[in-house]
């Protein structure tokens, strides 16, 4: 289980949410729904403005951790799986993903998204999860793919049509920003972060008024 912490102790910004969501800006709801139909081999069921789940997942019955405020259960499972696939820190020199509140940061991102975009995002995430049933003939939702298939799914979509590139990019940005914005991830890559105070660099303050006695005139 990934770490969930008190959102008040973490620092996730609206900027990060906006940046992660930037690719969605070009997809109107109408376009998104229309695109959903063909992106998943014409079989995605769009019912009353939302997705009918194409395939049940064992995860559908798994409870989500307490403390999350904005992610739905299915969105939590999607991001939980995406974090596992995108940030396999075991065996690397990087800060273990379990030590960073990635899912909490994502939850806060979602809470900062404007309502209209939030609705589209929900549809987009459902599409990303469901389309795996047919895209690449996996026969399973994304959350149920094994590691190798899930990785291939991301790579295939990043080279796919505009909608696929957009959605894979959105999911990756959410996950990457939620991990790397935490200063605890910086020491292993030797990123210095803020330095002026640490180095004791004095401020020069305001620059004195310029000498206008030899004024340049055109």
């Amino acid at each position: 289980m990934l770490r969930v912490v008190d959102p008040m102790t973490t620092k996730t910004t609206k900027q990060q949410a906006d940046a992660a969501l930037a690719p969605l800006a070009g997809l109107s709801r109408r376009k998104l729904l229309k695109a959903a139909l063909w992106a998943s081999a014409g079989t995605a069921a769009v019912v009353a403005g939302g997705f009918a789940w194409l395939r049940r997942s064992p995860l559908d019955d798994v409870a989500v951790p307490e403390g999350l405020k904005h992610l739905s259960a299915s969105e939590y499972h999607l991001f939980h799986r995406a974090i596992e696939v995108l940030l396999p820190t075991d065996g690397t020199t990087l800060t273990p993903v379990e030590q960073i509140p990635v899912i909490t940061n994502i939850d806060r991102f979602i809470g900062l998204v404007e309502p209209a975009i939030r609705e589209e995002l929900g549809i987009a995430l459902a599409l990303f999860d469901n389309a795996a049933v047919f895209s690449g003939l996996h026969g399973k939702r994304f959350v149920d793919l094994d590691d190798e298939s899930a990785r291939q799914y991301f790579d295939t979509w990043s080279a796919g049509n505009t909608l696929q590139r957009t959605l894979s990019s959105v999911v990756k940005k959410f996950v990457y920003l939620s991990y790397w914005r935490d200063p605890a991830t910086w020491p292993p890559v030797q990123f210095d972060g803020a330095v002026s105070d640490r180095w004791g660099i004095p401020s020069l303050g305001n620059t004195p008024l310029p000498d206008e006695s030899a004024e340049v005139t055109a």
Binding site: T92, F154, E212
Partner: protein, 521 residues
């Protein structure tokens, strides 16, 4: 006109301004000789030039006042506090991030300090195509000299050329290409590499520590958190503005009415046209908001066999101007660094372990920023109450994008890079010079292909002699509304390839002199 002849001392630190938290009345009525909308490059310079000649100047800035002592040197945090839309401003397709400052001092607070004069051939083209013969290289020279002197603009010394820039310089020289140290507006650079998060120790000569405190020493008043909603006009003349004072919690504190016979619009090339459209003014040509260009940029990273630490040292050191003129390609390449958070977003190294390896090796990466001479094909407008930045890279500009990518890759390999990461959404890497053409041939000019960033919106209130095809006359006043002047990058009738801050400073200085010529004493 009122005359203010007293000159106060410039405070050692900070600005004595009015913020939303200082406002107690629900209605404010103010009077000034000149109201300046925006406190960035165009607004601050105009405010100083007018105030030092005795005009009573009021500056209204929509963004907050963040003193440099509160800068965090954390890019994520800085985007949230100092940038337009908290760093999330994009084009309509969502594949171009448009970064602008939104704070007292505007984009000058968060830019990379790069200081170029407008290329001569650009000024000459403006004369030929737009009737701007008053902006010839000879005519503009004294204005460039003036702002360069004021802002301590000088070429980087050798100590300001960090490892990432040394590599680019070595690669370009090996290829026989022209490469030069960048000029920057900075005093005693502390080499922190955090320019785009604001200079915490006031070495960058942004408007926050130069023209704004200077204008205020000459009596100018500055209100932050104050968003102008409408420019007021009567009988074909500008007569003031209406504005709202909004607290940092987003709640309106007060309505403001300003009476002023001179209105200087300098809110930036996105906000300025939106304000004119809201006001229903100065659009007899139908060109308000049109002709948007932005120098769409890419960060072309490469991995070297040794540590580079792209976040250490001066952020940008040298540039390659071999391809500056349109006949040679119309682009420049700037050697630049990057922090770890930004590094995770600049390209696609692959999913899972390949991505983590890329980040583990981030300190081995160096980068090149590409700037192209894009055509003015975009538009800024309102749609259902929301601003829209309608801009796609033109098909005619895509070859320049590819040429800039190719040249960047060639420089990296000449400098000894092991591989070049194409800034695309899909994973694309180049492992040798021989592979460059084949890999780049896979790119198409379609949405969500390349990772684009723009720092230089421009062109949306273009200047020209013909009122039928331009918004602003050659002396800076709108064709349609007397007393309404524009001094920001909206003016530029074509993109200028290079970073535009010095162009804006010089134009604002020149236009201020024109305002003074037309102002009764």
């Amino acid at each position: 006109m009122s005359r203010i002849d007293t000159v106060n001392a410039v405070p050692a630190q900070g600005l004595n301004l009015v913020q939303a938290s200082d406002v107690t009345a629900g209605e404010l009525t103010l009077r000034a000789d000149a109201v300046v909308i925006g406190s960035g490059a165009g607004g601050a310079v105009a405010a100083y030039e007018l105030a030092r000649k005795g005009l009573d100047v009021l500056i209204l800035e929509a963004g907050p006042y963040i003193p440099s002592s509160e800068f965090s040197e954390d890019f994520s945090d800085s985007l949230e506090r100092l940038y337009q839309d908290h760093g999330g401003q994009t084009n309509k397709d969502g594949d171009l991030l448009l970064l602008q400052g939104r704070c007292v001092g505007g984009s000058t607070v968060v830019n990379a300090c790069l200081a170029f004069r407008t290329p001569d051939f650009i000024l000459e083209e403006w004369g030929e195509k737009f009737g701007l013969t008053n902006l010839s290289p000879e005519a503009m020279q004294p204005w460039f000299e003036r702002v360069e002197k004021h802002l301590s603009i000088d070429a980087n010394g050798e100590h300001e050329i960090a490892m990432h820039s040394q590599l680019v310089r070595a690669g370009a020289r090996k290829l026989g290409w022209s490469v030069k140290p960048l000029k920057r507006n900075i005093r005693e650079c502390a080499l922190t590499g955090h320019c785009v998060s604001g200079c915490k120790t006031d070495r960058k000569q942004s408007m926050l520590v130069t023209y704004l405190p200077w204008a205020m020493a000459h009596g100018a008043r500055l209100h932050s958190d104050t968003r102008v909603t409408r420019i007021l006009e009567s009988g074909g003349r500008a007569v003031g503005v209406k504005a709202e004072v909004v607290g940092h919690d987003g709640i309106k504190v007060a309505d403001m009415h300003v009476d002023a016979g001179i209105v200087v619009l300098a809110a930036g090339a996105v906000q300025s046209p939106l304000l004119l459209l809201n006001s229903g003014l100065a659009n007899g040509s139908g060109q308000v908001g049109k002709n948007f260009a932005c120098h769409p940029s890419m960060y072309v990273a490469a991995k070297y066999p040794h540590e580079v630490f792209p976040w250490r040292g001066a952020l940008l050191g040298v540039y390659v101007d071999e391809f500056l003129t349109p006949e040679k390609g119309g682009f420049i390449l700037e050697a630049g660094g990057l922090g770890a958070v930004e590094m995770c977003l600049v390209n696609e190294p692959g999913t899972g372990k390949p991505f983590l390896q890329f980040m583990e090796e981030a300190r081995f990466n160096s980068g090149i920023v590409t700037l192209i001479h894009d055509h003015n094909v975009g538009e800024i407008r309102w749609e259902k109450g929301r601003k829209v930045v309608d801009y796609k890279v033109a098909d005619s500009d895509f070859p320049s994008m590819l040429a800039a990518l190719k040249a960047s890759a060639e420089i990296h390999f000449a400098a000894g890079a092991e591989k070049v990461f194409v800034p695309s959404i899909e994973k694309l890497e180049i492992h040798s010079v021989d592979e460059i053409d084949a890999v780049l041939a896979r790119l198409e000019n379609k949405p969500q292909r390349l990772r684009l960033v723009s720092y230089h919106p421009q062109g949306t209130l273009r200047m020209g002699a013909d009122p039928a095809s331009s918004v602003v006359a050659p002396h800076g006043e709108t064709h349609d509304v007397k007393g309404l002047y524009v001094t920001d990058a909206s003016l530029l009738p074509t993109s200028i390839i290079v970073n535009p801050q010095v162009t804006v400073y010089a134009l604002a200085s020149y236009i201020s002199s024109e305002i003074l010529k037309r102002t009764p004493s």
